[in-house]
């Protein structure tokens, strides 16, 4: 219907998708769902929002997961990867092949892909790594190099280490307990990696604290970052609830509270006010005491113009 309403993509769809496979991958569950209309629209960095708990569920919010991969079989399938943890993801993990899920997707602004070949660093922490591999394929099609920097608490939570090593030009792993790769965090490794790889652009998908450090560091080196945020939890994923906001600067220099699900989840790293996440900066449009200036519009659509 509203074909091109959303920034840079076609409209999402809501489908009833049949679960094809549920697999364990280390600490994670990888779930593949038949959803041709989502698979064909998908671009790397986008996510799905899934209703959990069945028809009489007490859980009102959808659960959002980055799309890990799409495949052409059965008309089109979508795979995502998650850690079964709290009730919502636990319910999902207990689903079996042939169960039917209510899935909305693909949602959100995808990773922008450079026109020309570049040296790209793909940085992922925990399940945050999941969306990076489809991106890597896209980048490879354009002749770009991809280096990986993956991290997690422990070896079983590093997602995609094998694939990264097989397909990346380089792949550095860091775990907090040292059970795989170097002991430490991806942030510690970043300076060395960007130097050795002569990184042109960083694609990062990690908890907010890590994204903040990565963007600060990259800023010092003058390397642009495309950051996929996945906190706070999204209730709707479709831009309706206004729950997932963070402060970001538009290209007009004005700070607005933008929705991670609709204006993101991928943001230009230098436009997010990382230190002010969880606040309303005093100079944000419409903040208490804020006064309109000439020429400032309330519309947020230019925040992500890149």
């Amino acid at each position: 219907m509203a074909g091109n309403d959303r920034d840079g993509g076609v409209a999402p769809v809501q489908v009833r998708g049949t679960v094809l496979t549920v697999r364990r991958v280390d600490a994670y569950v990888a779930m593949t769902v038949v959803a041709p209309a989502i698979a064909t629209r998908f671009r790397p960095g986008q996510f799905v929002a899934i209703a959990v708990g069945g028809p009489q569920s007490g859980m009102i919010g959808r659960r959002t997961f980055s799309i890990h991969d799409v495949r052409p079989d059965h008309g089109g399938t979508v795979e995502f990867v998650f850690l079964p943890r709290e009730p919502g993801s636990q319910w999902l993990a207990d689903c079996r092949s042939r169960d039917v899920l209510d899935v909305v997707g693909p949602l959100g602004r995808p990773f922008p892909v450079p026109r020309d070949a570049a040296s790209c660093l793909l940085l992922g922490v925990g399940p945050g790594a999941a969306p990076l591999f489809a991106l890597a394929s896209r980048l490879a099609e354009r002749g770009s190099h991809t280096d990986y920097l993956l991290g997690a608490e422990s070896a079983d939570r590093v997602f995609g280490a094998l694939t990264a090593r097989r397909t990346g030009r380089s792949a550095i792993i860091a775990t907090a307990d040292g059970s795989l790769g170097a002991r430490g965090s991806v942030v510690d490794m970043l300076p060395t990696v960007v130097q050795q790889a002569r990184t042109d652009v960083i694609y990062a998908s990690a908890p907010t604290g890590v994204l903040r450090s990565v963007c600060a560091m990259a800023g010092r080196y003058g390397i642009p970052v495309q950051a996929l945020v996945s906190e706070p939890a999204m209730i709707c994923g479709t831009g309706l609830c206004m729950g997932c906001v963070l402060p970001a600067v538009g290209t007009d220099g004005v700070t607005r509270m933008v929705r991670a699900c609709a204006e993101g989840p991928v943001f230009r790293g230098d436009l997010v006010r990382w230190d002010d996440v969880g606040t309303i900066p005093f100079d944000a449009l419409g903040a208490p005491g804020w006064k309109p200036k000439q020429g400032t519009t309330a519309a947020g659509e230019r925040t992500n113009a890149s």
Binding site: M1, A2, D5, R6, A11, P12, Q14, A51, G58, M59, I60, G61, R62, D102, V104, P232, A233, I235, C236, T238, G239, L240, C241, M242, G243, C244, V245, L246, R256, M257, A262, V277, G278, T279, I280, A284, L285, G286, A287, P288, W290, P292, T297, A298, A299
Partner: protein, 319 residues
């Protein structure tokens, strides 16, 4: 023949009694990806304030059992942004706009209403009385019959006569009927209920309130029985005043419950976050529920629960 969902309130003709609740349908664009906004009874817009508002800091939401605790702080583009961007878009799609009006002073409500009423394409106004009253130390207008009445009078006085004004009530009061009466006396053409219930959640990890704003508003299916009770009580007291029923509507059957309790129109809010196509689905389900019971017109069931049992008073649900 399927039941007729068309609904007439005063001189307004709506294709269906199903609306979107204020603050839950984005600017309309987000919803339009999943439902044809022209076929929904009307879109009740996010509450419009005079100036743009950045809203409250995150976290703004916490999931609760069958409910949602939220505190968005009326983030929005302000009246100019609404008139330049959102309203024209809704009209271009053939949607009917019930514009929700908010303010911190009676004057602000009046000013917003007056400018809205000068703009073409406003079908009705809903007065969000849940805003903090700057003149009463931030106590919401809806909690006080006199304050609520004063706001309604200001809005009614600033609005073109042919635009109906609905006053939106809060359930957080000892006597909702008294507030309803004050609003009607002040000129409200209809009432809308309920707004969210004040609630709170504590995060077991940080040991602090889960929302940045400490308290929030509880909505969703959890509050439906409270909303139905409010609609019932007000309908009982003021049987001729049209009511927009709202609170936790998830299915056509839930919508029917509100209609039976006395609502002429039913708004869907939080459930849109769970199911963005809920409005179309609920419309279809309501039509099916009515048709299955041999009801020809949706208007025939409005307030029906106040009359003696319509069907077998005794249910044999298991044979």
């Amino acid at each position: 023949m399927p039941a007729d969902l068309r609904t007439r309130i005063g001189h307004l003709d709506l294709p269906s009694p199903i609306l979107t609740a204020s603050g839950c349908a984005g600017s309309g664009r987000e919803l339009a990806q999943f439902s044809d906004v022209a076929r929904i009874g009307a879109i009740i817009t996010k509450s419009v304030t005079l100036e743009p508002k950045a809203g409250n800091p995150a976290p703004r939401m916490a999931e609760t059992p069958s409910g949602l605790l939220s505190s968005t702080g009326l983030q929005g583009p302000g009246l100019d942004g609404f008139l330049q961007r959102d309203l024209p878009w809704l009209l271009s799609r053939g949607a009917r706009a019930f514009v929700s009006v908010a303010g911190h002073t009676t004057r602000e409500y009046g000013e917003v209403s007056s400018r809205l009423s000068d703009s073409a394409g406003v079908t009705a106004l809903e007065v969000n009385l849940g805003c903090p009253d700057a003149a009463a130390a931030g106590r919401p207008f809806a909690l006080d019959a006199a304050a609520a009445g004063a706001v309604v009078a200001a809005v009614r006085g600033s609005t073109r006569y042919d635009i109906p004004v609905f006053a939106k009530l809060s359930p957080e009061v000892t006597d909702i009927v008294a507030v309803a009466r004050a609003c009607v006396a002040a000129g409200a053409d209809g009432l809308s209920m309920i707004n969210t219930l004040p609630g709170m959640a504590i995060d077991p990890v940080t040991f602090r309130p889960a929302l940045a704003g400490l308290a929030g508003g509880l909505s969703g299916p959890a509050v439906r029985p409270v909303a139905v009770r409010c609609v019932w009580a007000v309908r009982e007291a003021l049987p001729d005043v049209p009511i927009i029923g709202c609170g936790g509507v998830r299915t056509g059957r839930d919508a029917l419950e509100f209609l039976l309790a006395g609502a002429s129109l039913v708004a869907v809010g939080t459930v849109l976050f769970h199911d963005p196509s809920a409005c179309s689905r609920i419309q279809r389900e309501l039509e099916e529920e009515l048709t299955a019971r041999g009801v020809d017109r949706v208007t025939d069931v409005v307030g029906r629960a106040h009359q003696p049992a319509a069907y077998a008073a005794e249910r044999h649900t298991w044979v």
